[in-house]
């Protein structure tokens, strides 16, 4: 039993890192634009299908799909941003409707192009298991974990040290004050949206190499990203990472100790518990006090 629980904790950690990557994209666009991109999960899915195309049609390793995924997903992000930017009234509400609609269109486009079959990597290297002490993981999971960690560090550096990263933080702090400092809000929002798209690209490819994808997964990913963002309570990268790990571990323990049918439900229960007991999120008290 202990081995099973240890395995569940380890698997939860690995899948949680990819959840974190998905959630950071959602949190980034929300921080800069104050809109919730309900099509974010579908953008991740789009990247996952880019990996499938590169592997199944071109016969290459799925990680070679990253340039293609970046190109496709950021292009869709740019179009989505242009549409959101045209909203003149009630942007928060209208953008929810818009992005929800775009999500449905993307899901159905993927369904038309690739059918509803479940897809995953066929790479023997990525599917091989590696033991880490008493627990095991697919190579694909370990690579995805490494990619996610590296990207989180890169995102942290970008937000902390680059001028555009600082501008994103400035706009998310105080939009009017940021404009008075000469910051163009539209350009800053576009940059943050494209960076969110880049994160979705990597997350999608990573997801394809460690899990299974099908058109319905996009919506579920958006929900998971939303749960993680609310659990974290504040846009700090370590906070999002820990909340994502918590979600991943909760799901893995539920599958191990109860039933895989309850996996999604467990995440929702965790979400509701945090909302009732810690409405500011697990790491949000300090940030929301003021």
């Amino acid at each position: 039993m202990t081995d099973l629980i240890l395995q569940a904790l380890f698997s939860g950690l690995l899948v949680g890192s990819v959840y974190a990557l998905v959630a950071l994209g959602l949190a980034l666009s929300f921080g800069a634009m104050r809109i919730i991109n309900l099509a974010h999960g579908e953008l991740v899915l789009l990247a996952a299908y880019c990996a499938y195309v590169v592997e199944a049609r071109a016969g290459l390793d799925p990680y070679y799909a990253i340039p293609l995924a970046l190109l496709v997903v950021t292009a869709v992000c740019a179009v989505l941003f242009l549409m959101i930017d045209r909203i003149r009234e009630h942007r928060e509400l209208n953008s929810l409707i818009l992005t929800f609609g775009i999500g449905i269109i993307l899901t159905n486009a993927i369904l038309l192009a690739f059918a509803s079959d479940v897809r995953t990597t066929s790479s023997p290297v990525l599917q091989d298991a590696t033991s880490v002490g008493p627990v095991y993981a697919m190579n694909g999971e370990i690579v995805a974990f490494g990619v996610s960690l590296a990207l989180m560090v890169a995102l942290w550096w970008w937000l902390k040290k680059s001028w555009y990263g600082r501008a994103v933080r400035a706009v998310s702090s105080n939009r009017a004050a940021a404009k008075l400092m000469g910051i163009s809000p539209v350009r800053t929002e576009l940059v943050s949206f494209l960076v969110a798209g880049a994160l979705a690209s990597f997350a999608g490819v990573a997801l394809y190499t460690m899990s299974v994808v099908q058109p319905a997964v996009g919506h579920a990913l958006t929900v998971k990203a939303f749960i993680v963002t609310v659990l974290a309570g504040v846009g700090s990268i370590p906070g999002v990472f820990l909340a994502a790990i918590l979600l991943g571990v909760t799901e893995a323990l539920t599958v191990t100790l109860a039933s895989s049918a309850l996996q999604e439900l467990a995440g929702m229960v965790l979400f509701l518990l945090v909302l009732f007991l810690l409405p500011n999120g697990l790491f949000g008290a300090r940030a929301r006090r003021g």
Binding site: R166, R169, A170, S172, S173, L180, M181
Partner: protein, 236 residues
Amino acid sequence: MLELDAVTVRFGGLVALRDVTFSVKPGEILGLVGPNGAGKTTLFNGISGLTRVRGRIRFEGRDVTKLPLYRRARLGIGRTFQIPQPMQHLTVRENLAVAQVFGAGKHNPERIEEILSVMELQAQGDRPAESALALQELKRLEIAKALATEPRLLLLDEVLAGLESQAKRQFAAKLKELHQRFGLTIVIVEHDIETISGLCSRAVVLNFGEIIADGTPAQVFRDPRVVESYTGTAHA
């Protein structure tokens, strides 16, 4: 430096500013006074680009009426808010650095240290602006951010409000120092007659969105219409 020509602002049926016309000369410190609701902050919002106006606003000969807020900031119009608006997720030093890079188009750490030193904020430089800075520190940060954009015109919205009289005098002296040191033109919204008289070479009085007096502080504060607007009674 700044020319306003028939500037009008309406909020639905309410006329917040009506045909406001005046100009500000380079190097001037102009006091903008008037009772609450006179339209002073609305005028600042119009000049800085937060509020759309009818009429014409020219800055250094260039028509900026239609320019967005951030482009006016880049041209050299700096502005502070009555309630300080720090960018809370950034440190005090980062607030200035971002303002300098995007507002002035360059990064000059020496200049930032100079501004921090003049505004007596060096000790707080690496603290997050969200941490509990005292009111005076927040007000100094508000001005420091505006200075970092290297403005030639600085609009100060009630920066002395909430300060005790001694602190107010010290702050007014600091504003004079900034005016000389950075070669600024300043327009300041302030209620305190003593401060306006000591600081400004000229005062413009607004009431119900219209200019009712324009002259030296001594002249305008003797004007019967100004006295009436403040006291609600006709001057004897």
